[in-house]
């Protein structure tokens, strides 16, 4: 019994080490969509995630700062076009985050 409690406590402490950049719901959603495709533009993510333009832009900047997302700006004719893709680092971080979250949830609620 005491061993179980100790294990749960150590599991909970792992919450402190999770990647907060990815853990934020909007950013997690963005990364999940980008990991499912090769690349997508700003409008596609806007429609799929349901975020506002400003919100999406803000979270993309955060993800770009962490090098999780690559943002390629180009012009198609005279129109600006933003192509987004998940980087290898971002894909690895997402996988790791999912793994940690799964372990935590299994550890805490596995017996339910």
């Amino acid at each position: 019994m005491s061993k179980q409690k100790k294990s749960d406590a150590s599991d909970l402490s792992r919450l402190l080490s999770i990647d907060k950049i990815i853990h934020e719901p909007a950013r997690f959603m963005i990364l999940a969509y980008l990991s499912a495709v090769e690349s997508a533009d700003f409008i596609f993510l806007l429609n799929q995630t349901g975020l506002t333009q400003g919100n999406l832009s803000f979270h993309l900047s955060k993800l770009e700062e962490s090098d999780y997302v690559a943002i390629e700006k180009q012009f198609i004719g005279k129109r600006p076009h933003t192509l987004l893709s998940i980087t290898d680092k971002g894909r690895k971080a997402l996988k790791e985050h999912l793994k940690v979250m799964k372990e935590l949830i299994d550890g805490l609620f596995g017996s339910y």
Partner: protein, 214 residues
């Protein structure tokens, strides 16, 4: 992630453009027969039926290409899908090429009277071949594309031609091609237009690319 990719891919079917495109293609097959039944055109020369069918086919193709390019993509965005999806779409393209080749071969074999006309049933061999191959090809395409409505359209496409010929043979309706078209191409066009109008209402104006970018 698979479910997410599937959802993203399937979101491009909600514009109704595929439905209208397929409906127009099916209509192009029966339009010459319909005009013949109305007495507006005979089969003395194959030129006019072919011109009508070809015009409608080109119109459908233009609607599809320009509709996707200038209506759907600016509203839903551009996405490059991963390798698995690209492989599936390559399968679909190969299937459609195969289908067109079978269609062309069947057409010429019928033209040169190599294929039996089907005196008893009224259904020519070409009609049966068309029906069977379309049912198989469209069903496989529906599977690879995760496009559920295409299963229904495969069924409607497959039965349109044999049923028209059979109705002509038993001669109980004045305009069999018209009624069969209403029951086969009709649902595709109605579903397509409803989806198209709903899509335009849901996404009324294009969002400028780069809007909200830093």
């Amino acid at each position: 992630m698979k479910a997410l990719e599937k959802k993203a891919f399937r979101s491009f079917f909600k514009d109704g453009i595929y439905d209208v495109f397929l409906g127009l293609i099916l209509l192009s097959f029966s339009l010459p027969m319909m005009l013949n039944e109305f007495g507006w055109m005979d089969y003395e020369t194959m030129t006019w039926p072919l011109v009508f069918a070809l015009t409608l086919n080109i119109g459908a193709l233009l609607f599809f290409v320009f509709g996707k390019k200038y209506i759907t993509v600016p509203r839903l965005g551009l996405v490059h899908f991963a390798k698995t999806r690209k492989r599936k779409m390559r399968h679909v393209r190969l299937l459609l090429v195969f289908s067109v080749l079978v269609g062309v071969v069947t057409f010429f074999l019928t033209l040169f009277k190599v294929l039996p006309v089907g005196e008893k049933s009224g259904i020519p061999a070409a009609g049966l071949i068309f029906g069977i191959q379309v049912l198989i090809v469209f069903s496989l395409a529906a599977y690879f594309m995760d496009f559920t409505r295409l299963y229904l359209y495969a069924f409607l496409f497959a039965f349109s031609m044999p049923v028209t010929f059979w109705l002509k043979k038993i001669d109980i309706l004045a305009y069999p091609s018209l009624y069969v078209s209403l029951l086969t191409a009709g649902p595709m066009l109605v579903i397509g237009w409803i989806l198209f109008v709903r899509f335009l209402r849901q996404f009324p104006k294009k969002i400028e690319q780069g809007a909200g970018d830093e």
